[in-house]
Amino acid sequence: MKLWITMFVVMVIIVVGGLYLENSILKTTNQISHTLNTIKDAVRNDQWSQALQSLDGLTERWSKLKETWSPFIHNHDLQTFTLHLARLKAYMETAERGSALAEITNLELQLIEIQQQEILSLKNVL
C-alpha cells in the first residue's frame, strides 16, 4: 500500500506537471505567434530595422525556451523552429521580402505543430 500511495503521488505530480506544461506551452506559443505577426507587419511595410529588432528579441527568448522545453518536447520540432528563425534572419538582413514572409509562415505552422502535439486531445491520444 505504501508503494501505491507513493506511485499515486507520482502520478498526481505527473498530471499536474503535464497540465502546467500544456498551459505554459499554449500561453508562450500564443505570445510568440503575436510577435511573429508584428514582424510580419513590419516586413510587409519594409520596416526592416524594426522587424530585425523584434526578431532578435524573439531569437533570444526562443533560445531560453528551447532549453526549458527540450526535456519535454521532441527535439526535432524545436530544432526545426530554430532553423527557420535563422533562415528568417538571413532573409531579413538581405531584405528579401517574399522569402522572409514564407519563413514567417513556416514558423507559424511549426508553432501550431508544437502547440497541437502537446495538447491533451482525442486526436493526439489516438
Binding site: M1, L3, W4, M7, M11, I14, P71, I73, N75, H76
Partner: protein, 230 residues
C-alpha cells in the same frame, strides 16, 4: 556517444527499479497482465534509449504510469476476488476424479498433447495415476495423484520425524553473516574455533558454512584452501 551511454545507464536503472518494485515473481510465474506490463516496460525503456530525439521524460512517464497501473491492479486483486478473477482468469479443472474434462479443455483451448506434456513435466507418465489436474491461471498444471499412486510419506508408515527448520548460512563466500550468527545466538569466536577444528584457518577460506537446526555445522572450504591442503 556518451549521451547514449548515460541515457542507457539511466533507463536500465529505472527499468530494473521498476521491475523490482513490481514484485519478486519470475517470468514463468507472471500472470498474463503482469507479463504484458513487463514486456511493455522493457520496450518503453529501449525506445528513448535508441532515439535521442525523444525526451527521456516521455519514457520515464510511461514507465511510471505502467508501474502505477500494475501496483493498482495488484492492490485491487488483493482486496477483491471478483477483480482477481477478471484480471487473472480462473483455474480450469482438466481432470476430475480421474476423468479428462473435454468441455473444460475445449473452453481453455488446451489440447491433449499439452496436457500429457505438462503431466510428464510433473513426473506423471500414466494418466491412470491422476485423480485431479488443474490448469492454473499462470498456465502451470497442478496434479493430485490417486492415493495409491502417491509416494509413501513418513505419516503413511506412522514414523516419527524430528523438526527440520531452515539451516542458517553462517559464512557465505568468505564473509561471516553476523545477523544469522545472532539468530543462532552464537559468537564469531565459536565459529572460528569450529573452523580450526576442521583445519580451516578462518572465514575468508570458507566458501559456505551452514548450521542445521539439529546443530550440525556444514563447512566447505574454498578451492584454493583445498588445493593448499592437497
Amino acid at each position: 556517444m556518451l549521451i547514449t551511454l548515460a541515457r542507457t545507464l539511466f533507463l536500465y536503472t529505472l527499468v530494473m527499479i521498476t521491475m523490482r518494485l513490481m514484485g519478486k515473481r519470475q517470468i514463468a510465474q507472471l500472470e498474463p497482465f503482469e507479463l504484458v506490463i513487463a514486456i511493455m516496460i522493457a520496450e518503453l525503456g529501449v525506445i528513448p534509449m535508441q532515439d535521442r530525439d525523444i525526451p527521456l521524460i516521455n519514457g520515464v512517464i510511461a514507465i511510471a504510469t505502467l508501474l502505477f497501473v500494475q501496483v493498482t491492479f495488484s492492490v485491487l486483486s488483493l482486496k477483491s476476488i471478483w477483480f482477481r478473477s477478471v484480471l487473472d482468469g480462473r483455474y480450469t479443472v482438466v481432470i476430475a476424479n480421474g476423468m479428462i474434462q473435454e468441455t473444460e479443455m475445449r473452453k481453455a483451448r488446451y489440447n491433449l498433447d499439452e496436457l500429457l506434456e505438462q503431466l510428464r513435466l510433473n513426473s506423471v507418465f500414466d494418466l491412470e495415476d491422476v485423480e485431479f489436474a488443474i490448469l492454473e491461471t499462470s498456465g502451470d498444471l497442478s496434479v493430485l495423484l490417486k492415493s495409491q499412486a502417491r509416494p509413501v510419506t513418513p505419516e503413511d508408515l506412522q514414523l516419527k520425524t524430528e523438526y527440520e527448520g531452515l539451516p542458517l548460512v553462517l559464512i557465505l563466500d568468505g564473509k561471516v553473516m553476523k545477523t544469522e550468527l545472532e539468530k543462532a545466538q552464537l559468537s564469531e569466536g565459536w565459529l572460528r574455533t569450529e573452523l580450526e577444528k576442521r583445519g580451516v584457518k578462518g572465514p575468508p577460506d570458507v566458501l559456505i558454512a551452514s548450521l542445521s537446526t539439529t546443530g550440525k555445522l556444514f563447512v566447505q572450504p574454498k578451492e584454493r584452501q583445498r588445493l593448499r591442503k592437497a
